[in-house]
């Protein structure tokens, strides 16, 4: 592999990898936050009954 090709490839992998992982965590956090709200509402409703 040429040295500039190697440099571009390595930097692309590092930043795409890190931001991909961060995006995955963010989406997971959003989904869990929604689920948690829904469950908390269900618990409140059940307790009122």
């Amino acid at each position: 592999m040429g040295e500039l090709e190697a440099l571009y490839l390595a930097y692309t992998i590092i930043w795409a990898g890190l931001f991909g992982y961060l995006a995955y965590l963010h989406m997971k956090q959003m989904k869990l936050s929604k689920d948690l709200k829904l469950l908390e509402e269900m618990v409140k409703k059940n307790e009122r009954k």
Binding site: L7, L9, A10, I13, I14, G17, K28, Q29, D35, V43
Partner: protein
Amino acid sequence: MKFDKKMDTMVLVLALVFVLLAIYMALIYTPVVDDPGWNAPKAQKIFYFHVSAAWVSFLAFGVVFIMSILYLAKGLKKWDDLAFASAEVGVVFCTLAIVTGPIWGSAEWGVYWRWEDTKLTITFVLWLIFVAYLVLRGGVESEDKSRLAAIFGIIGFVCVPLSFVSSRIWQSMHPNVVATSEGSMSAETGMGLLAGVVAFTFLYLFILKKRLNIIEMTSKIEDLKEKIGGL
């Protein structure tokens, strides 16, 4: 471990500032190595983030080691959660180091990997151990899962100091980062590396907090599900 929102934002801002600074330092500020001994001097700039990723993975596995000891001693869930979160983030950074190293190797050595090189092999074993740690945490259904994982995390950490010193103890093609008797890195190179290490350390703290938050939310959801089932 509870950070407030302000602390979270501060860590994110610091991470972003240092990431931009580190990219500038690595690509523009630091000189291309001027040594006939290097076959691919431009590709050497991979080093700034390859070493930083490796450093953060060592830090993350060190946190797993300490939290695992604390968990075994005190049995508190928060230590176990922190060990789990740090192991996952450590594996991500270790993967980046393990992937970018061979890319540099292909330009510099003409081959991607050298199995005879102790540093490369030990780091690969370290990565495998912590991937196995994550599989153990995700796959084993046992009440002792956390204890087993803690023991695994403590044993796995042994590879960290071994990987760190291996290129100095055994014959290795892997360049030495820390200064040796043969010479040290230039001030510019040192500053570039420092910026990368600081940037990745702040990124690690930010990601660790996010991952820990996910673990806590998952536990809360499980508790609420049980509560609903019990009502």
